[in-house]
């Protein structure tokens, strides 16, 4: 009450015209405006909340990307991708150095290998050779070679046998007979 009187006194001292004016509200609102307003605002609030929830539940493109990356970063997948990457890198490297590598191989093959080197290699790695394969290869080599060199006439054969008999002593001869 005192506040109201203070305000009125203050106004009267500052502006007699304003103090005398009626304070009727000159503005109006549409019919039933204040009865409907809470419903209108609550409706907007609900729509806003629904939109907000929908936005939260729908993953953004960044979330989707991160999900996919997390699958790729699983240990098993990561190892598979790393292996694939190594293979691709090796293939690319070989394609780049390929011609030079082939040349060096050709040069190596062009150098003559002596029989001694071959024999030494075979003896050292004899266990690794397939005996059946070696035998087949030997037969094939004989067949491919000039057959005339291996033909023996009867005279030569008799001569060869006589030499053997001469070299045998009596005991060995008796054993053979």
């Amino acid at each position: 009450m005192k506040d109201k009187k203070d305000r009125q006194d203050e106004l009267s001292s500052l502006s007699p015209r304003l103090a005398k004016m009626k304070k009727d509200n000159p503005f109006e609102v549409p019919y039933n405006y204040f009865e409907k307003l809470p419903d209108d605002i609550l409706q907007q609030w609900r729509e806003e909340e629904q939109a907000s929830q929908a936005k939260q539940s729908a993953p953004s493109w960044l979330d989707q990307l991160l999900d996919q990356l997390s699958v790729l970063l699983q240990p098993r997948t990561a190892i598979a991708f790393a292996s694939l990457a190594v293979l691709i890198a090796a293939a690319v490297w070989m394609m780049q150095v390929g011609p030079e590598g082939a040349n060096s191989m050709e040069v190596a093959l062009a150098e003559p290998i002596s029989d001694q080197e071959i024999e030494a290699y075979i003896e050292a790695n004899l266990d690794e050779f397939d005996t059946e394969l070696l035998f087949a290869e030997s037969i094939a080599a004989v067949e491919e070679s000039d057959a005339g060199e291996w033909e023996v006439d009867d005279a030569d054969l008799d001569e060869y046998l006589d030499e053997i008999i001469d070299e045998l002593d009596e005991e060995e001869l008796e054993q053979l007979l």
């Binding site: 305000r7 106004l11 502006s15 015209r17 503005f27 609102v29 907007q44």
Partner: protein, 190 residues
């Protein structure tokens, strides 16, 4: 005898809002208790009903979104009043920028605007008062409305605007003097 919504305390309304199951009921009570005071406060600043309707809707939506940050350091109405005032001023500034940038727009004075407004029913003196208020700087107009129409104490006004009581008194006195001068000139001019 049926209890009025005005009899429900702010604490009870806030308790309704804080509980998930009664939040909407709390919002409804809050609006029913304060919507008219807030509407008129906004309407006196923006003048047209359609504008006031937009501003009050935005104001309450903002209140709903930020009610969790209300700490109870000030009265609930003071907090609501502050948000409504900020929204109204933001709206007016946007409207001013739009008017300046619109080259083709015909300049329409407040007098013709009030005459065209279906929701303004003031007499010549009230129309003259509105035009006098239109000449005031924004801060003085705000202070005048709070003191003259809303009959707020300087202490309440200080809480809303964050300005000292002395500063508010000075603003109000300046505003009233300017309005008095406008009314006198209008009277002489006929």
């Amino acid at each position: 005898m049926k209890a009025s919504v005005q009899d429900i305390s702010d604490d009870d309304i806030l308790a309704f809002i804080q509980a998930d199951h009664s939040r909407e009921k709390g919002f409804r009570l809050l609006m029913q208790k304060y919507q008219e005071r807030m509407y008129w406060q906004i309407r006196r600043l923006v003048i047209e009903h359609e504008d006031a309707n937009d501003v009050i809707q935005n104001t309450f939506l903002k209140v709903f979104r930020s009610i969790g940050s209300f700490k109870g350091n000030s009265q609930l109405y003071t907090w609501l009043y502050r948000i409504a005032t900020n929204e109204a001023i933001t709206f007016l500034n946007k409207k001013k920028r739009k008017a300046v940038s619109s080259i083709d727009e015909e300049e329409s004075g407040l007098a013709s605007q009030l005459k065209a407004d279906a929701y303004f029913d003031g007499d010549a003196a009230q129309q003259c008062l509105q035009m006098a208020l239109e000449t005031l700087p924004e801060k003085q107009r705000l202070v005048f409305n709070m003191r003259y129409f809303d009959e707020m104490s300087y202490k309440e006004m200080s809480e809303v605007l964050g300005t000292s009581v002395g500063g508010l008194k000075a603003s109000y006195h300046h505003a009233v003097k300017k309005v008095e001068q406008y009314l006198r000139d209008a009277e002489v001019g006929g």
